[in-house]
């Protein structure tokens, strides 16, 4: 490999592919034991998408059962297992690792201009922990699964006869450490591995978002870990700390659980917002509006996330004073969220928008997140929450934020970086069609549930009054449409791997560093030190017909 020719720093679209991280080593072991952040990111992406398929199948089974009141095709007990599995798989195996661990791992060091994350071995260990957590979930399925809801509320979780509670708790514990180690790695990488010139305020906003996310991962997850450990011990040895029959306190469990799990929803949404900042700026080819506001609003959300957990417990017997405080603080989360929305819209304004698949996902995100965020205010309001608590309104709200926002951003980000990750272009027309199908299906599924909930349909119920049936049928049909959109997405993405066009280094005209290296990137990310510029200065980028990509037009490099 020492004969590798010296490459020009910028456009390499006409250089034939000779070496990249995908073909650098061969064989199964070279993947599963790799220390390369890009390969780890790819493995995470594949694993997360497979889990998404599993969680999605459970969702479709649950929706199908709800087509009719009473039994449709599974019994009530199985139904409880299925919605629990849907929730647990989607939360712990899919959404939490989806952006930071999967896309973040791939993108973060390259965007930063580093050769790898600070602790490559710890990074690989995080992935192996993820695998171990997934295996625990499978073991739980074999041992009788679990029907506690993904929240594992005591005393039900310590007394249910479902046999798989302890394995899945062990799995969630392990996944928690996977998440903690990823967060630690990212914080240290961003602090210590920035190359010269990469100042904090030259960092792309996705990195700010990942940094804020990593703070939450490191600070909140240990509390979940010890809480789940206590539940497991409670179940195995009956220590009684959460058991009211033994003088313990189940509400203490809820405090512990939500002290993690509220920040956890920001582990899901903050990096999603980071992706959207990238997509909006790059695909409207315009300097991002309000860079510092977006950057600081990520950190502000991270801080707020730690002081709002009580809004999950308005009806759990919290004191009125606590309820009022938690309600007020919860409202204030709307401020940094709105700051982002307005800044994105201002970026779009007078931008030269390329309407392609990533951009369409970004627009879908803005609409869905706005609905999800504003309905959150209904739930933060004490008086309305008493009515809406534990109804489908809550289900609709968090699906708009977790799925309609976090996962849609993940899929949008996947389309944005797909050429970089795989070196192939996908069919953009099909991509836009699939995005539209998903968007329509999503809204049919979940907007209906706002109405179901406000009419009083409780969540997690197997049976319901006949007057709710129309809504349930519409919602289920919507879920089938959405599934169709995702199947189409999977088809054209797989097709692109087989016969997609070769991707240029910079297909979209991005100004962040990952677009300066080849697609796919070389094993060590950069053949030469990247020149760190402004992340959202698109003035030097020009479309080049020959390579069907963007090239940097600078006096010194124009000859390339």
């Amino acid at each position: 490999m020492t004969t590798l020719p010296a490459r020009p720093a910028a456009p390499t679209y006409d250089t034939p592919e000779s070496d990249n991280y995908l073909i650098h080593d061969k064989g199964f072991l070279s993947w599963i034991l790799t220390l390369d952040h890009k390969r780890i990111g790819v493995m995470y992406t594949v694993s997360v998408l497979l889990s998404f398929l599993v969680g999605g199948i459970f969702a479709l089974l649950v929706r199908t059962e709800l087509l009719t009141p009473g039994r449709t095709f599974i019994d009530a007990d199985t139904f409880n297992h299925f919605f629990t599995l849907h929730g647990a798989v989607m939360v712990f195996l899919v959404i939490i690792p989806s952006i930071p661990a999967a896309l973040g791992n791939f993108v973060l060091p390259i965007m930063l201009g580093a050769k790898d994350v600070a602790f490559p071995r710890l990074n690989l260990f995080s992935y192996h922990l993820w695998i171990a957590g997934a295996i625990c979930t499978v073991v739980s399925l074999v041992m009788g699964s679990f029907d506690t809801g993904w929240t594992f509320y005591t005393p039900y979780s310590t007394t249910t006869s479902a046999g798989g509670v302890v394995p899945v708790i062990v799995g969630a514990f392990i996944l928690g450490f996977s998440s903690i180690f990823t967060g630690m790695n990212f914080i240290v990488t961003i602090h210590k591995l920035r190359p010269p010139g990469m100042t904090w305020f030259r960092m792309p906003l996705f990195l700010w978002a990942l940094y804020a996310t990593a703070l939450i991962q490191v600070l909140a997850t240990p509390v979940l870990a010890i809480t789940l450990a206590l539940v497991a011990v409670e179940r195995l040895a009956n220590i009684g700390i959460f058991n009211p029959a033994m003088g313990g306190d189940p509400v203490l469990y809820q405090h512990f659980f939500w002290f993690y799990s509220h920040p956890a929803v920001y582990i899901m949404i903050v990096p999603a917002m980071g992706i959207i900042s990238e997509l909006i700026a790059v695909h409207s080819h315009r300097q991002i509006f309000g860079y510092r506001f977006i950057a600081f609003s990520s950190v502000a959300i991270a801080i707020f996330s730690f002081i709002v957990w009580g809004h999950h417990m308005f009806t759990s017997g919290q004191s009125p004073l606590m309820n009022t405080l938690f309600s007020a603080i919860t409202y204030s989360v709307a401020i940094p969220s709105a700051v982002k929305i307005f800044n994105w819209i201002c970026t779009l304004y007078k931008g030269s928008i390329t309407l392609n698949t990533p951009m369409l996902y970004a627009l879908a995100f803005i609409i869905l997140f706005t609905i999800g965020g504003l309905t959150g205010l209904h739930l933060a309001t004490l008086s309305t929450d008493v009515h809406l608590h534990d109804t489908y309104f809550v289900v609709a709200h968090f699906h708009y934020t977790m799925m309609g926002s976090a996962l849609i951003a993940m899929v949008g980000g996947l389309h944005h970086w797909w050429p970089k990750i795989t070196g192939r272009m996908y069919n953009d027309k099909l991509g836009m069609i699939a995005c539209a199908i998903v968007f329509i299906g999503f809204n049919i599924t979940f907007f209906t549930q706002f109405m179901l909930g406000s009419h009083g349909m409780p969540r997690r119920y197997y049976d319901y009054q006949p007057e709710f049936q129309t809504y349930h049928v519409i919602s289920t049909i919507g879920s089938y449409i959405m599934a169709g959109g995702f199947v189409l997405t999977a088809m054209y993405l797989i097709q692109s791997l087989v016969s997609g066009k070769r991707a240029p280094a910079n297909p979209w005209g991005g100004a962040t560093l990952e677009w300066e290296c080849t697609s796919p990137p070389p094993y060590y990310n950069f053949h030469e030190a990247p020149k760190v510029g402004e992340p959202y200065d698109f003035s030097n980028l020009q479309w080049d017909e020959r390579g069907e990509g963007y090239v940097t037009v600078k006096p010194t490099e124009a000859k390339a």
Binding site: M1, A118, P120, V165, P222, L236, A237, F256, F526
Partner: protein
């Protein structure tokens, strides 16, 4: 870590030693053989490792922090329980253990100094002394736990069981994670058995619903185990000759406040988790001894010693909080 080695090899063969910003270094770097490929300087690598360790310690603090919150909630709800039950802990043993751990922290700090100044033999001695402190702590802890298992100062159900079944006790002695000694019918801890146990045992006091959520202690403790039940158990206990020498004194004490088992639940949870951390500490100190004997450490490279030192100090620090919170009440 063959994968790591191969990573470095590729790096070397690829001729990337001079790539990157300001001259990257590979594993073949003669001056700094320990420098990983993605760091520019040893200082950057050391700073990264140190920041990572501090973040890990933050997670440790939060990990224990939740248990401290649990302790605070239980103690504020049942102040009399903590006052009463603390007397059953052996303050002398706890104090000795505190001293042992503090001394081991000192030897660890000296070890870091020796590594920084390149005194290999002194470093190995310090690490062995630290290891001895950790082992001494665990031995004392073992005797404390074993004694408590003998007299049924345990969590949950077992706390109220008179000492009758030596086989069950034997199991409890063998492992600190063993399930509380139970009657044979109860040894399978399926969830069904758990609920059956709860139904069958009148020992636990159910709080009125209102008090479950309030943090403030109840004005008056809820009614406990009826004195006649205790007397009956004590009589049964006294009649059993096998209990000689292992007196479950708390069962004969009519003044024992209800829910005293919760003190031991949180005691075992917190000291048990701390004990696991001491064991992990012994593992990594052992790893340091191996590496120090190999001569890996010196003024240029002592990162692992430094980081393990930080870990060991936080383990020590947690105990310094646990000792007064459990042993020195009243």
């Amino acid at each position: 870590m063959s994968a790591h080695a191969s990573h470095g090899d590729h790096h070397g063969t690829q001729g990337h030693d001079d790539h990157g910003h300001g001259g990257g270094h590979g594993h073949h770097n003669a001056e700094y053989p320990f420098l990983a490929h993605h760091f520019e300087t040893p200082a950057q690598q050391f700073d990264s490792a140190k920041l990572g360790m501090w973040l890990f310690l933050v997670t440790e603090v939060l990990f224990f922090g939740a248990l401290f919150v649990g302790y605070a909630v239980l103690r504020s709800r049942f102040p009399d329980v903590f006052k009463y039950a603390s007397a059953y802990l052996d303050t002398t043993m706890g104090a000795i253990n505190t001293g042992v751990l503090i001394l081991s922290s000192l030897t660890m700090a000296m070890g870091v100094y020796c590594a920084q100044t390149g005194r290999k033999t002194a470093l190995i001695v310090c690490l062995w002394l630290t290891m001895a402190g950790a082992a001494g702590f665990m031995v004392i802890k073992y005797f404390e736990y074993t004694h408590k298992f003998h007299v049924h100062l345990v969590w949950g159900e077992g706390f109220y069981k008179p000492v009758t079944d030596d086989g069950g006790l034997q199991r409890a002695e063998l492992s600190s994670t063993a399930v509380v000694p139970l009657t044979p019918a109860q040894t399978t801890m399926s969830s069904g058995a758990v609920s059956a146990q709860q139904a069958a045992t009148p020992s636990f006091v159910q709080l009125p619903a209102g008090e479950l959520t309030a943090i403030a202690p109840p004005a008056q403790g809820p009614a406990g185990m009826a004195p006649e039940v205790i007397d009956a158990k004590a009589a049964e206990h006294a009649a059993d000759p096998s209990t000689h020498g292992h007196e479950a004194l708390h069962l004969q004490d009519a003044s024992m406040p209800p829910n005293t088992h919760l003190f031991f639940a949180i005691y075992y949870a917190m000291t048990g988790l701390h004990g696991i951390h001491v064991l992990i500490g012994m593992g990594v100190i052992g790893w340091l001894i191996v590496r120090a004997s190999r001569g890996d450490f010196g003024p240029k490279y002592y990162t692992p010693v430094d980081l393990v030192g930080l870990y060991w100090h936080i383990v020590d620090l947690v105990w310094i909080f646990l000792f007064p919170l459990f042993y020195l009440i009243d």
